[in-house]
Symmetry: C2
Subunit: 364 residues, 2 copies
């Protein structure tokens, strides 16, 4: 059994260790699924971007950062000047020379980099009860992509960037009968649970459905109350997981994808783990473990990242519960640590993150 001390086994310890053992010394492909939803523009919901309209630019900017090591139109920061978690992801992937593919589930603003078009459209506000078009088609296309992409890589790490994504996650979980009120995470230190619950309630009413009505209908759940990242992400998992292990890289948003995957094809769940950060795993304002436990017996791993000793205030802020996760930061860190069987430590990662932070801030 490989010991990778800076990866925490958060839930289902034996399976988590077995998964970690399986990916140790292996080279993954990292796929970033990006999309936008008008849900992110509900006042107070999301911290991604300085202004609501900026949420359209955050996913493309995150994708550009991963592929190019720079953003074409400046680095995405929170209102307090704290950098996107893509900085962590980029640093981890760079250290381990892990390749990146960007897949779009539906965007208002296209990234200025190569990206996989899965035939989706940007998402509407979930309060309409009619949030996402083409869900079935995007799932099908993403499944085909996942089948092919799994053939060259040892395993896949799949992350997401979509502002407003925990609200849409709550929407889909509620429609599918998973209790997640007060349990989804937030990129802000004060998690606006009430706003999210309110938005989901409006969406359920508008769609004419009640809690759990769509437990067996993931396509409709996403169509009514989800976001366009979900069909892209879920399809990739369904297509690839019969061939290779999949690390679903994210926080509580992963639970909605997990619920969708389970409803589409429960057989693939045995090859799936959730990989997140310590900040999500230890977050008192959300409950990743509690949501996952309602859905499936999949392991949860967390990168034991700690920015407390960073020389940059913008990074130390992560210890105050700001940002926490996103752009597959936790999963990418786990993958980098696993590839070198522990030789890439959290300290080494922090040094690389600080180096890239300094470079990015200098060119901002």
């Amino acid at each position: 059994m490989t010991k990778i001390s800076d990866v925490l086994t958060v839930q289902n310890k034996p399976k988590a260790e077995a998964f970690l053992d399986q990916i140790s010394g292996k080279k993954p492909l990292f796929i970033l699924t990006i999309a936008t939803t008008e849900t992110a523009k509900i006042s107070g919901i999301s911290a991604a971007g300085k202004f609501p309209e900026f949420t359209d630019y955050t996913p493309p900017a995150d994708a550009e950062l991963l592929l190019l090591g720079k953003c074409i139109k400046g680095v995405p920061v929170t209102p307090d000047g704290i950098p996107t978690p893509a900085l962590i992801t980029m640093s981890a992937l760079h250290v381990a020379d892990i390749p990146v593919l960007v897949a779009s589930g539906g965007l208002r603003v296209k990234p200025q980099i190569p990206f996989l078009d899965l035939g989706g459209s940007p998402g509407r506000d979930i309060r309409t009860g009619n949030a996402v078009d083409n869900v079935e088609e995007v799932i099908e296309r993403a499944t085909v992509a996942g089948e092919h992409l799994a053939k060259n890589a040892d395993y896949l790490v799949i992350g997401e960037s979509i502002p407003g994504g925990t609200t849409t996650a709550l929407g889909v979980l509620s429609a599918m009968g998973v209790k997640a009120d007060g349990k989804v995470s937030s990129s802000m230190p004060d998690n606006p649970h009430d706003l999210k619950i309110e938005a989901v309630k409006s969406g359920l009413i508008a769609a004419g459905i009640g809690f759990g009505d769509l437990a067996e209908n993931p396509v409709k759940a996403v169509s009514c109350l989800g976001d366009p990242m979900m069909p892209a992400f879920a399809g990739l998992v369904v297509g690839a997981a019969s061939q290779v292990p999949i690390l679903m890289a994210g926080g509580t948003q992963m639970t909605a994808v997990l619920a969708v995957v389970k409803a589409l094809n429960p057989d693939v769940l045995c090859n799936v783990a959730v990989g997140t950060t310590r900040w999500v795993a230890n977050d008192r304002s959300s409950d990743l473990k509690g949501i996952v436990a309602q859905i499936a017996d999949v392991p949860i791993l967390a990168a034991d990242l700690d920015f407390g000793a960073s020389r940059f205030e913008g990074l130390r802020a992560y210890e105050k519960g700001i940002v926490k996760e996103g752009v597959g930061a936790g999963g990418a860190s786990i993958a980098a640590m696993a590839e070198f069987e522990g030789a890439v430590t959290k300290d080494l990662l922090l040094k690389e993150i600080e180096r890239n932070y300094a470079l990015l801030m200098a060119t901002k």
Copy 2:
């Protein structure tokens, strides 16, 4: 030295054998670069599709066939009912379980499958002298994609589907000072060299350039007289070839891409080979070897495919010089043969091709 008897070494025998040895037993990623150009609609130029407008649908249909094993809107056939070479490619990739990624250089009709968007637009008629937009940007994006895609695969096989592509190849070769009049191939048994030469002459005049004026300016050569497949393909080669071997899968169209790659970064050519079919290698109405020899000392391999004994007339037609190559058919066949170190023979491939042909014709 691995002996793979059904792969012919057509040019630069020692290098060709070394390349074949390098890819033997290895698993590639096959990338199909697709695009459209109005040049294909010049009367008499192209046989791809029953009517000129059909040329917009051929590349998406080819891509669908590779990814799905079926076409969403029928199988692309020549005016005589002879199947697209994508049938060969699909069969070879299927036998060897080689994954496919489709990359668009610029299309009028989008395929109904996942595809990599490289930011390009459909091409104009080269007689305008202003054939392709965004060439530099597409090259840059494709280079980034190539860098990442090379990290998981043992090597890349890159093919193309673009009707009218030998005419645009002649255009770029002429602008860059490579003598190719009467040397580019055709999918028709009677190669319409005069029509191609005439179109290129008009394009050169419209662009205000003479033969060889753009030898050092590949971006302008493609912009004036090329097609949108070229910047996508060339960028992928430039990005990937510093890391892994590249089999450029195609006939005389590959020479234009080779000239562009050489002008962008000659250092990568040492990791490149051209892989085609026996039908192109032995074609008396074109001269692949003669064009390549003017550009670079890269090896040429050919799959020794022979459909003479096929039970289907539509396949036997290939022996009369119809179609000959396309959609990376030759390169995909070579890759399948190499992966199993000769155990996949041309006879086995023909059986698989016949099986798929029968299936496709039954559902047509």
